[in-house]
């Protein structure tokens, strides 16, 4: 299985990533997931999330996840991009692409990687709230 993992402070360029996909003629299903920062958290207006990663360990733990995903499902490739630093509301913080020969496997693997990522990959976020106007 091909895999790539990128932690980056730059915006995630989804069209470029989409244009750059390579799918072998035997792989029928491509699932892309984009997670965006919402403008509210628990009803409170949010300007951005500040992501902090422990980079070497984050890469290592993503690698372990992708190896485990490959053991569970027949995957052709998985690509992961995760932002670090300030990510404004509406911007993408995470992007995952899974290529497999069948849709069910691609969807299941994508959901599993997202769930596990939130359990083991050392990345943290801190909310930047909208300033409250003084009366």
């Amino acid at each position: 299985m091909k895999r790539s993992i990128l932690l980056t402070a730059d915006p995630i360029d989804e069209p470029a990533l989409t244009a750059g996909r390579s799918v072998s003629a035997t792989a029928g299903a491509v699932v892309c997931f984009t997670g965006c920062v919402r403008n509210r958290e628990a009803e409170r207006p949010l300007v951005a999330l500040e992501y902090e990663a422990f980079p070497a360990m984050a890469i290592r733990q993503f690698e372990r996840l992708l190896v485990q995903a490959e053991e569970r499902w027949p995957l052709e490739s998985v690509d992961v991009v995760h932002r670090t630093g300030l990510v404004r509301a509406g911007e993408a913080s995470v992007w995952i692409r899974v290529v497999s020969s069948h849709r069910a496997e691609a969807l299941a693997a994508c959901g599993w990687i997202l769930d596990e990522m939130k359990r083991v990959v050392p990345i943290w976020k801190r909310p930047i709230w909208e300033p409250v106007a003084n009366p």
Partner: protein, 86 residues
């Protein structure tokens, strides 16, 4: 480092760093000491981190570690709160 102890470097991440007020530090552990022994030493020096211990995650290098894991001289240990990627 003397014969009765080994030095372990600890790094704090995310709000553990703010609670401790420092990025980390070196801690002395007896030879054959475990992650759990190290956490005792960390809690002693940083009482504001002590209440976080039940939810704290610990890594040796870039791999998760268990409390009973025996530490080796030169190990780099990371201590952090539950992760929240995505």
């Amino acid at each position: 480092m003397n014969r009765e102890s080994m030095t372990i470097t600890v790094q704090f991440w995310s709000y553990f760093r703010e609670l401790a007020g420092i990025h980390g530090g070196d801690f002395e552990v007896v030879p054959g000491g475990t992650v759990s022994d190290l956490l005792d030493a960390v809690s002693l020096r940083h009482p504001d981190l002590a209440p976080m211990r039940p939810c704290a995650l610990v890594a040796v290098g870039v791999e998760y570690a268990f409390p009973e894991q025996v530490l080796q001289p030169g190990d780099e240990v990371s201590l952090f709160p539950p992760v929240q990627g995505g």
